[in-house]
Symmetry: C2
Subunit: 127 residues, 2 copies
């Protein structure tokens, strides 16, 4: 993956990766370090650097809601990645297919849930 | 936009914003500060904080390739935004509709351009 690393600018060791499915639904924004990127390429499953835990994890490790990589794209400036994936079940730990399940209504200054829940987080992660 | 600001976690004053069109093409990853977000909501056109210039700019200011905001989504943790937009001409300053116009081929360890150029950067920005 030398050519890819050469192209990317890591900031504090990380590069942001937009993750979308093949139909064009944006699922989540994650971060990868070199190790997460290597594991993603080697296994074909998205691995991320979880900043809250300070370590590399398979996306969907606990839930089984993994992401199979279909395409890896690089932006024009090498500042971010786009992973096009096949998503198992759902990307969001709150039970929604996409993490962007809330829409902002500027007129009402309110956030509204605009997607259906596809799984019960309590059942998947325990309470 | 109080409710939105309350929801968002700014890091060093910025929040990343994934920008995609209504068909689901991911165009670019940008950053907004509070001012860029306010201008985006007030005008309905994406404004970004350009880190390389240290200031807020209308996306497409030089080229005229602006982005009309159709939806503003917030992720589950308030760490990023998704702007769904109608894109004028193209999002990328290198002449491509999307900034993610290069695909990584892991087997060949090579980057390949996988989109058609839609405008000539020399003609639009000058050389």
């Amino acid at each position: 993956m030398e050519r890819l690393l050469e192209e990317l600018t890591f900031q504090d060791g990380l590069v942001p990766a937009v993750i979308a499915d093949e139909r064009g639904t944006v699922l989540v924004l994650c971060y990868v370090d070199r190790e997460a990127l290597r594991k993603t390429l080697e296994t074909g499953q998205v691995h991320v650097f979880r900043r809250s835990r300070g370590r590399v994890m398979l996306k969907g490790q606990t839930s089984g809601h993994t992401q199979q990589v279909r395409e890896v794209r690089v932006d024009c400036e090498g500042n971010s990645l786009l992973f096009v994936v096949a998503q198992e079940v759902a990307a969001c730990h709150m039970g929604y297919y996409s993490c962007y399940f809330r829409r902002y209504d500027a007129e009402a200054d309110a956030l509204a849930v605009c997607e259906e829940r596809v799984f019960d987080p309590g059942a998947v992660y325990g309470q």
